[in-house]
Subunit: 133 residues, 2 copies
DNA sequence: TAGTTCATGAGAACTATTCTCATTACGGAG
DNA sequence: CTCCGTAATGAGAATAGTTCTCATGAACTA
């Protein structure tokens, strides 16, 4: 159903080459810097399509804006993100899945979804800020 | 340092009487319906003050807007929220805390924060939607 | 290759939130 | 109790992310 266009290819290719989460506006800027002319609205639309297809993950940053990333894992997973440099680790959270399911059941809830995201300073950024002191 | 004003009292009292998460705009509307004249900007400012004081919790909904609630628990905790009626359960997530700490350490991350929120259908809403079928 | 339909671009529109700044009113000092 | 300094408020403008509108362009299909 989705049609293959120059713009969609450009967005998909960009995401393939970028390891961290980025906002739609960031990605639009990166495309522009690469000389790719894609309208901002098209970037938004494409990200939505890719998200619906499950090809990209989206996470809301603390400021509330959505950030997108092409993840390795196909299946459901969570993230550990460096809030300084953006380095991202994909997490398999079996322990948390079990906990969430049990808690929901215990309270009579059904059809449960969850959000679990970890933010911190990666080893490199952590040591750098320690140096700065 | 924070000054006690009619407006702040109104917002705080409202939160005391409302059990679920609500957006700033919702709360503003509720105040208006109660005959309390408080400017929207003041509702926002007051919620920020109360949040900073740790007297209210804020969580970002799926649509990205912040929702506020006065919680029972003083300490750090998470929530299980009915996405139909808003009923909220406060969760003590010791198991998840341990998991998050261990994962972060294992990846060399420091200064880690996390978001963990569960959304589903409460017992009542779940059975109602089953009936509808 | 021609026609149908989906996708795009440009900018307007929307929404949540924050900011500006003139005015009001806590709350401590006297 | 009254006066003052200063924090808080109100009204609307300003911001910022995201979505929508609609005329135009480009994929696919027969
Ligand atoms: Mn999970
Ligand atoms: Mn926790
Ligand atoms: Zn880092
Ligand atoms: Zn419910």
């Amino acid at each position: 159903m989705p049609r293959t266009t120059r713009q969609r290819t450009a967005v998909a290719d960009l995401l393939d080459g970028v390891p961290d989460f980025h906002s739609a506006q960031d990605l639009h800027r990166m495309l522009h810097d690469r000389g790719e002319r894609v309208a901002l609205a098209t970037v938004y639309r494409t990200l939505q399509v890719l998200t619906d297809l499950g090809e990209v993950d989206s996470v809301r940053g603390p400021d509330g804006e959505l950030r997108y990333r092409r993840c390795e894992a196909e299946a459901h997973h969570h993230h550990l993100v460096c809030r300084s440099c953006g380095t991202t680790v994909e997490l398999d959270a079996a322990a948390v899945e079990a906990w969430a399911g049990g808690i929901a059941r215990a309270h009579g809830f059904t059809d449960v979804e969850h959000t679990v995201e970890l933010f911190g300073l990666c080893a490199r950024c952590g040591s750098r800020s320690a140096d700065a002191r």
